[in-house]
């Protein structure tokens, strides 16, 4: 069995005595899209940050592409990428320049060709010379996505990537992510509050509550387990009844 691309094993994380993750384990293989779901404070963003090497767990093992993101940080970072609705690129620079800089940081071969292909795919072709600060929030989100695909990553961490997109663009983004998975077998770890999107995109969903994994399976399996018709129903049940 091939080694998973992303794995957390028995991870515990506490902040000021409050346990944000409590023995959390999961793994994702090549080409898999895994959604981390749960109410605010469930621990999904903490898990993402641990995988990114931004938080050192108090206990447990973290592997990304078979390596520790804490011990072999730059080997990992060259082969993964990240996008978040809460992270931006400098507003004073144009779309093209922002992408060009990150293409250089990632040592992308033929950066011009790569940038052209990405901006066209993400509907940013006409905005190449526009300043990032002049873009709408949806356009900025797409620019962040373009940045996250520059280095043809083997793993992408997506923190609510479609948070500010209109339904049409959000759908195009989902299609793009699916295409990336199909063409290159990219692994994606995904957090979102858009349950319909998670259902449409993720192969597997992990529900977290109070730092613990309370359910794992396909969206259909999760719905069945909680006796709900939609993932949104599951989310509401977990949030309001505090299922553990």
């Amino acid at each position: 069995m091939p080694e998973p691309r992303v794995a957390l094993d028995g991870v515990e994380m506490s902040f000021d005595g409050v346990r944000a993750l409590d023995g959390f384990s999961f793994a994702a293989g090549a080409g898999e899209i895994v959604g981390l779901l749960g109410p605010n404070g469930a621990g999904k963003t903490t898990a993402l940050h641990i995988l990114l090497g931004f938080l050192k767990p108090t206990k447990g093992e973290v592997r990304v592409l078979g390596m520790s993101p804490f011990e072999r940080r730059y080997d990992v970072y060259a082969r993964v990428n990240f996008t978040s609705a809460y992270v931006q690129l400098p507003f004073n620079l144009t779309v093209e320049r922002n992408l060009r800089i990150f293409a250089e940081l990632y040592n992308v071969p033929e950066p011009e060709k790569k940038i052209s292909a990405l901006v066209e795919r993400l509907g940013l072709g006409a905005l190449r010379k526009a300043k990032t600060g002049a873009l709408s929030s949806g356009e900025q989100t797409r620019l962040n996505l373009a940045k996250s695909l520059l280095n043809d990553p083997e793993v992408i961490f997506l923190d609510e990537p479609t948070a500010s997109l209109d339904p049409d663009i959000a759908d195009r983004v989902r299609e793009l992510l699916k295409a990336e998975r199909k063409e290159r077998g990219v692994t994606m770890v995904y957090t979102s509050h858009n349950m319909a999107e998670v259902e449409a995109l993720c192969d597997r969903v992990i529900f977290l509550n109070k730092g613990r994994k309370i359910a794992e399976g396909t969206p259909a399996e999760i719905r069945a387990k909680f006796g709900q018709e939609t993932l949104e129903g599951v989310f509401l049940k977990v949030s309001r009844e505090g299922a553990e």
Binding site: F82, L89, L93
Partner: protein
């Protein structure tokens, strides 16, 4: 990264003012003060030159510190810091780019101020000659070290520490013998003042202008101290960045 900082700088009117407008305002204040001293109190031309050089030197230190701090701060303001931290960009590469950006910015400010001082107040650049270069290097190194410490404190304390960027140079200015000699300080304070490379640079500059002396001791002492301080600042910055990564503090910088 250096090209990026340069483009970011010149796209921002506020940053361009850092290069020309604010240094010019400072020069005008001290320039007119020296004119007043000369006309009313009979200051000697060499004393007046030393005051103008002191002003230029202080600005070199100040801009060098700010460049390094602001290079980091810029990433916090634009919420780009996580993008950089998960890229293959090494910490030393990031710091080196901030240093080079600082060097470029400081050279522009120094050249502009010297040209303005010569044009407006007839400052004789030959009164220091090539000694200007080692003085400049020492102030640049000290500015880099201070900037790195400030950047480290920003990682540790986040946006709450932003005021430090502007305040740190003014914490050391009173003890750097910038506009007056070391001899005016009380005896107990002098040893502390001498722990600042800036004090040795200013004393060396005055010795060169007022006494025509070659300030090798001051230059050598300042250089040695700067190497130690730069090493300590690098270690502190590296430790605070690693600690910020491990505790998730760097993530909160984007909030």
């Amino acid at each position: 990264m250096v090209a990026r900082y340069v483009v970011l700088h010149f796209r921002s009117p506020a940053r361009v003012m850092d290069l020309f407008f604010w240094p010019l305002m400072e020069l005008l204040v001290w320039g007119f003060f020296t004119v007043y001293l000369q006309r009313s109190l009979g200051g000697t031309p060499t004393l007046l030159s030393s005051l103008l050089f002191a002003m230029v030197f202080w600005d070199i230190l100040y801009r060098a510190q700010q460049s390094v701090s602001l290079a980091f701060m810029e990433e916090m303001w634009t919420r780009n810091i996580l993008n950089l931290l998960i890229s293959p960009l090494r910490t030393w590469e990031w710091v080196a780019s901030a240093y080079l950006y600082g060097l470029l910015k400081t050279m522009i400010v120094a050249a502009f101020l010297m040209a303005a001082a010569v044009g407006l107040y007839a400052l004789d650049p030959g009164s220091l000659g090539l000694l200007f270069v080692p003085f400049f290097v020492n102030l640049l190194l000290m500015g880099w070290a201070l900037g790195l410490v400030t950047a480290g404190l920003l990682i540790r304390f986040g946006h709450a520490a932003e005021a430090i960027i502007w305040g740190v140079p003014f914490l050391i200015q009173p003890f750097s013998a910038v506009f007056y000699p070391l001899s005016v300080y009380p005896a107990w304070l002098k040893p502390l003042c001498l722990l600042l490379p800036s004090t040795l640079v200013m004393e060396g500059m005055r010795a060169a202008i007022l006494e025509n002396a070659m300030p090798w001791n001051q230059l050598g002492g300042a250089f040695a101290m700067n190497l130690i301080y730069l090493a300590l600042a690098s270690a502190l910055y590296g430790w605070l960045l690693e600690e910020g990564r491990a505790t998730g503090r760097v993530v909160r910088l984007t909030a």
